[in-house]
Amino acid sequence: MKKSDFVVRFAGEGGQGFMTAAEGFASANTQAGYHAQTFATFPSQITGGPTWMQARISTIPVFNRGDELDVLVVFNESAYQAHKDEVRDGGVILYDSDGLTLEDDGKSLGIPFEKLAKSTGNSRAGNMVMMGALAQLVDMSQEVLEGFVKKRWGNTARYGEKIVPQNIEALSLGREAARESGFNLGKLAPPTPPDYEQIFIHGNEAISLGAAAGGLEFFVGYPISPATTILMWMEHNLVGERRFAYQASSEIESINSIIGASYGGLKAMTATAGPGFSLMSEGLGFAWIAEIPIVVIDVQRGGPATGLPTKTEQSDLGSAIRPAHGDVSLPVIAPGTVEECFYATVAAMNWAERYQGPVILLSEHALSERKQNIRKPDVSKLHIERREVYQGKNGYLRYEAPTLSAMPRPGSPGSYVANASEHDAMGDTTHLPERHVHMTERRFSKLDLLKDGTFESANTEWPVAVMPWGGSKSPALEAYKQLQEAGAKVAWYYTMYLNPLPPDLLEELRQKELVLVPELNYLGQFSSILRSQSVRAESITQYTGLPFKVSDLVARISERVGEGSKDRVAV
């Protein structure tokens, strides 16, 4: 049987250029019609420090990064020691035999990348030699990579006429060297190219594109891993008429300036990570009380405080819903895949405009760096909302109604004060008990407008369910499929609309004996939120800074399935 799936990891030091190689390899395969997903982890420094990146190539859409390695490409001794145990039986460890000598462990394959590259006349083609070897190991056809090279360097005006033939020769040399070695991992089945158009993007690019498609007009941000790439994307792309992107002096500037812009009538957004999100909490309370639509993207990293800037975690959910002091409950949407990053951003902007308040889009490091092929979105088919703007005369009482009311636009009649203090119908500060009651209830009533979230479910007849959130969806879904194949009696639920939860979903969850929530935090934040809404939920936690492995989830869910009735959780 031909292999349907192939995982390669590149490990070494930051600055060695293999991030580009891994993405290039994945990109080449998507062009050929395979499905691909990359995953990266690195230290908080630009050059040096242990870094790795992997790519999974498959004949069917990829859910997850892949647990076991078919090929490990190492660039130094310590990378070899750190990763060799994750190579599957029969896998191969590939390395440059010019710079490195490894023990003969039956898996290692040394090929002189640099030396072979030099023989083509292009000393920088070492990565091409490596890719040629990789392709040979899985019997991938030569056209796949040749096509990539031609597309990547085929512009002779820019790269000259030599680069393409040199790189193709480098591919062939790598291929030849791997063939001579006798190593083979089994033939990768030919791709079945999808019948729809695709794009190949990171999670953060998906968020940025979703924002542009949703009609974003104003973005202010401050550099912070892993959200910085959104700021840079905006600075490059959010230009032209009625578009503004800017790097502020702090996250406090970011949040207050997007509030100012939205007050002025623009669709406004910022993107940050945990530490910046904490600095924004007072501003989020302001947007909530003054009823100003904004979207804040929190690309989670490990916390608390400065925490783990370049690792992944799902530990900001609690503070996303209740970031600020006082009575607030912020709407939260958390995408679980690269594709969902796009649509979740559109949805977050629609929610903010519809209910006139702050919405949190909760992404995470593992998604931000993940590059994947997805179906190309058709912007013209998206449903895009815009706040209701007051069109009447002066003398309007902006906050008089018991619930949502039209928002005046400065420059036009309808003057009012948008106030961070509790206020009366005109927006003037007040301390009257009945006004605080009125305004508090008015603000919470608007959340009813956001109960249109969708959810996934399967095999709902079983009393025990698995319900991941965010980026844990991918490993959980793959684990769920394996459990199902093994005959496990377990239901599946998933939504990216975490607050407010879709009412029908909540009703179904309340009927379950046990809802297992795989999530990357110590506290079990989502299960605690579910329990507060009368769902018997319990978390499967992990707090290593890395995503779940499918095999771990299979084992930990199996332990619990069937125990549902005897292992109730105190509510």
């Binding site: 230009v239 003054a290 948008a418 106030n419």
Partner: protein, 288 residues
């Protein structure tokens, strides 16, 4: 309780300097209404926290838009309003505690951007609304409710600070000289760039300095306030620095530079070579 809103019950203490500043701002906005023929709704008053910020609720006559934000954040709020809507006239009303203590971090970046706003800063050297604690502009040694044995830090020379961080227009005024102050505010609003009108606006309750500012010949008190000479070169930065080093409270325009482009124009000119694409074109860029 105000004429426009009987429910609103905040009051300034009798004799508060902020009454004069309010009248001056109303006059300046009335003049702008006449001169520009733009509606009153094209003005946005951005208020800080404290007695002075309450001005946004106490303005009489035709009502501008208002936003009463978080403590110290008038400037970033204004950046969002002005960068997003350059057609609006943005005026900040804040006190020395809000603007120069918790809000200090925002002054330099916005001045360097030359954000086109006019900040009216009411300085009384104390936090009035929290009952008289010392503020950055209080002189060393001042006894206040939070400095019972005297303030240990040196007082801040706010005028020097604005010049140092690059304000392109800066004037200094007195709350009791309403007509002069209205004129300074009008000039600040008309200036295309970052303008500050720093006003001595005494707190009658916790730090009443009216007498020291205006002087009292009978008691032999020399006035702290003095008129800036007519021959002061307003566009000369070193002359401006010398002027604010003279001590006391200069009255008039200290500095102006009309050559620097405002922030929103810089963005347009910096981005003129950028490729403008539709959202679908941005998506298509990533085609496999």
């Amino acid at each position: 309780m105000t004429d426009k809103n009987p429910e609103y019950d905040f009051k300034w203490c009798p004799g508060c300097g902020d009454f004069g500043v309010r009248r001056a701002l109303e006059q300046a906005m009335e003049k702008r209404l006449v001169e520009t023929e733009e509606p009153i709704e094209s003005n946005v008053v951005v208020a800080g926290i404290g007695c002075s910020g309450n001005m946004v609720h106490l303005l009489e006559g035709p009502q501008p838009y208002g936003i009463h934000g978080l403590h110290g954040r008038t400037l970033p709020l204004s950046m969002g309003i002005k960068a997003g809507r350059p057609d609006l006239n943005v005026v900040i009303v804040a006190g020395d505690g809000d603007f120069l203590s918790i809000g200090m971090e925002h002054i330099a970046p916005q001045a360097r951007r030359n954000l086109d706003i006019c900040a009216i800063i009411m300085d009384n050297a104390v936090y009035g609304l929290t009952k008289g604690q010392s503020s950055p502009t209080a002189e060393k040694g001042l006894v206040t409710s939070s400095t019972p044995f005297g303030k240990p830090e040196d007082g801040l020379n706010a005028l020097n600070l604005y010049l140092t961080v690059g304000a392109s227009f800066m004037a200094s005024g007195l709350s009791s000289k309403i007509k002069d102050l209205a004129n300074l505010i009008y000039q600040g609003m008309s200036h295309r760039g970052f303008s500050v009108v720093h006003v001595q606006s005494p707190c009658t309750e916790y730090n009443n300095t009216f007498e020291q500012l205006k002087g009292n010949a009978r008691k032999g008190i020399e006035p702290l306030a003095w008129d800036i000479p007519e021959d002061h070169p307003e566009d000369d930065l070193s002359a401006a620095f010398s002027l604010v080093a003279n001590g006391g409270v200069p009255l008039g325009v200290v500095y102006r530079d009309e050559q620097r482009p405002p922030f929103h124009e810089r963005i347009v000119s910096m981005n003129k070579n950028a490729r403008v694409r539709t959202a679908q074109e941005m998506v298509d860029f990533y085609a496999v």
